[in-house]
Amino acid sequence: MVLSALWAAIVVLALLALYRDWRLGVLVCGIAPIAPYLHITLSCAGSVMLRRDLEQDAWLLVEAAALGLGCVRWTLLLRDYTRAVAPLERQCSQGYQEVLERTAQLEASGEQYRALLESTSAVPWELDDGTGACTYIGAQVERQWGWPADRFREDGFLFSCVHPDDRPAFAQALEEAVAWQDVTIDCRFLFASNRYSNVRSFVRHAPDARERRRVRGFSIDVTVQKKLELELHQAQRLESVGRLAAGIAHEINTPVQFISDNCHFLKDGLGEVRTVLERYREALRAVAAGSLSAGEALERSLAEEQACDLGFLCENMPTAVERSLEGLERVAKIVRSMKEFSHPNQDAPSSADLNAAILSTLTIARNEYKYVAEVETRLGDIPAVICYASELNQALLNIIVNAAHAVSERAAGADRKGLITITTAVDGGEVVISVADTGAGIPQEIQDKIFDPFFTTKEVGKGSGQGLAIARSVIVERHGGSLTFETEQGRGTVFVIRLPATPSVETDTDAPEQGLLM
């Protein structure tokens, strides 16, 4: 009994282990308890032999049933498994194909990107700011700058190519880039030809998992652009000087006219005065010799004075001299102002008195405004400013001429002149120059365009539309200042220039020749 129960338990466990099907377990467990009864029934019914045979047959039957069921089960499982696996297998092989294709595509597109990157004149690079070595640099660098790309993998090589004077600024720019700012920096950069070129770099931080100080950037050779910019500035200066030349000619011709008139008068008058003097002497000599009475001598002299209108001469000759001197002063002032205005092109900024610059610019431009506007200057006590004086004068001139035109458009037809007020003052660390006019104001719709190059509201031929664009570029880019305006329709416009009292003037990079290495 115990034996059979034990046997049944083993079979159940074996079957369970084999088929992992609880139903088999239930079956066996179901049969096992009946087995002894089968024993008893059979023992009652037959012989021991028969009983034992029957018992064995029963067990065989059970085992066969179990095995049959197991086979069926396995077959079914196998079928299910095959069914489930086939699509997976297909997916797998498809995925594999895709991976292959994608990899090829990636390679191609990477190649394309690289080709794209490296075919432009802008050199891409990635720099480890810690070591100063480039972790990547576009292959075009050799074509563009002459250096083999490998050189830039050397520690600090990129940095060593930057002009020594520009290195601090360049380092500063990298510092800012590491601090997650987008930076644009112009510096002189040594090419393999041993020549410095103006290179503009756009730098930004390159995130790195290992927290390395890494930046990426593009660098473009802008020497030609710089030169063109310079030429454009120069051309605009010439243009405005040309336009002013007519006015200046007028301003000089007028005093020359009256100086010449007065001098002619003085020349004629002196001749007459001399004649009168000689007559006096003759009369005196005659009186001394006793051949003429004092009364007659007086009468003769008076007649002589009358004949040459001595009264008029005496009255007007001193004034004529004064007027001539005034005229000469006027001419001298204009010539002086022209010289101050057109300072020979400076390579380095220098200290300048902006109040004096304003006055000389006003003298130069006088003919542009004097028929349409009165000019009032309220010049405050301002410190000297380090600047490119001639460029700043140009900017001032453009703004003043602009104000004069604004006023003249309004004054056209009216008898009253407009007013241009120029004020200088110190505000915090800045020198503030404001130029206010009583023109018609700037219409809303063009307010955002007035600083655009070539934008003009004037008729063709009257202006190139460069004036305010250049003024802004000079003030903002060259001097780190600001140029803003406030305008009110029908009331006028105020342009406000703000310059740092000790501005950080951009280093002049106009003359690459100066950067030649010896």
Partner: protein, 407 residues
């Protein structure tokens, strides 16, 4: 004999220093000229309303009413006042604006005695035309009608970038009004020319096509005339006559240094008729009727009815416009050359002989009215020492007449 009444002269400039300079400089002319000084356009107008001025000299650029505006007002309200512009600087555009209104132009600074000479010369013109009403008539002329054909051709030629000086001057030389205005400008002090020009090609070359374009674009400089507006005379026929006389006069004077003068004088000699036909139609008609009725030469009829002939009127205008004295004289006396004592053959003589010989039928010009012709004869050639005899003169004139007709 009492001294002639001083001429009234008004100076206008916004710069008081200029006025006081002129005042002392011209002080020595006080006995001959009564000079007044105004410091603005408005003050000048007040002054003009106060009394009659013979001559006004005005700055061009002034605040408020500028010189162009002032001279324009003067040309309308006081046309007999001679108008001179004295400018510190003027660009092409300003010149073009001034041209219709200023008789003469001076640049600042103007050299010693130039101003005085110009004033004296202008005032002497009064002797040529004593009647102030005729002076006003000539003074009000801004420009003369240009024949439609010449006007169209000139516009077309100037609008081309590649326009050549020769082509443009060819068109100008075919028209009396264009020629007069071009010579006026070329001879003005504005363009600072040392010598006087009577050759149109030189004048155009000197002025430059830029100036010619500015003039052509400026309203009121080259005024396009209607072809047949006149009941008294036909402008196209008159133009043809002027061209014929010009060509003939040039061929007569070709061996003398006065070829260009003779040509210009020939083209401009009847310019007085342009003025009369434009503004004095009824009077001109009456002169024509008188001449026909009494068998008088037309210029004598004009002298009797108008007080001066077309020759004097035309010469006065050309004088106002600052054309060379020889040219003015040739125009003034082309009907009476004997009144000018000349020992040599020049522009005046060439025009007088050319007109006598060219045989234009006046009836064509004056709408069928035949007026008695007057002219010089064989004896005249001898008296002026002409380098050829009468038959030779006739041959040359005949040849030029044919060539003008052919063109």
């Amino acid at each position: 004999m009492s001294a002639p009444e001083p001429k009234q002269i008004l100076f206008v400039d916004d710069d008081p220093a200029i006025l006081s300079g002129l005042r002392v400089r011209l002080h020595r002319f006080d006995s001959r000229w009564a000079m007044y000084f105004a410091d603005s356009g408005a003050a000048a107008i007040d002054e003009l309303e106060r009394c009659d001025y013979d001559l006004i000299i005005a700055d061009v650029r002034m605040p408020g009413m500028d010189g162009v505006e002032l001279l324009r007002t003067v040309s309308e309200r006081w046309p007999d006042t001679i108008r001179i512009a004295l400018s510190g600087y003027a660009g092409e555009k300003q010149v073009a604006r001034l041209v219709p209104y200023a008789h003469q132009y001076l640049n600042k600074p103007c050299p010693s005695s130039q101003l005085e000479e110009l004033i004296a010369r202008c005032l002497r013109l009064h002797e040529l035309l004593p009647d102030p009403r005729l002076r006003a008539l000539a003074g009000s002329v801004r420009t003369l009608p240009v024949t439609i054909r010449a006007h169209t051709e000139l516009q077309a030629a100037l609008s081309q970038e590649s326009a050549g000086i020769a082509a443009v001057s060819g068109i100008i030389a075919s028209d009396t009004a264009l020629t007069a205005k071009t010579l006026q400008l070329a001879n003005s002090e504005f363009f600072r020319l040392a010598r006087r020009i009577t050759n149109v090609e030189q004048a155009v070359g000197h002025l430059g096509l830029g100036v010619m374009r500015a003039l052509a674009d400026s309203a009121g400089v080259f005024w396009r005339g209607a072809e047949h507006e006149s009941i008294t005379l036909r402008l196209d026929e008159l133009q043809q006559h002027a061209k014929t006389v010009a060509a003939a006069a040039r061929s007569l004077a070709r061996d003398t240094p006065h070829g260009d003068d003779a040509w210009a004088a020939g083209l401009l000699h009847d310019i007085g008729y342009w003025i009369l036909a434009r503004d004095r139609q009824p009077e001109l008609l009456r002169c024509l009727q008188l001449a026909v009725a009494e068998g008088l030469p037309l210029q004598e009829a004009e002298a009797r009815l108008l007080g001066a002939s077309h020759a004097q009127l035309g010469a006065y205008l050309l004088g106002l416009w600052g054309l060379p004295v020889g040219l003015v004289e040739a125009v003034a006396f082309h009907h009476a050359p004997e009144r000018v004592a000349q020992a040599q053959f020049g522009a005046l003589e060439a025009v007088a002989v050319a007109e006598s010989l060219c045989g234009t039928d006046d009836a064509e010009i004056f709408n069928g009215r035949s007026v008695p012709a007057s002219g010089v004869g064989t004896h005249y050639l001898k008296s002026v020492n002409a380098p050829f005899d009468w038959p030779e003169a006739a041959r040359r004139v005949e040849a030029s007449c044919r060539s003008v007709e052919a063109s």
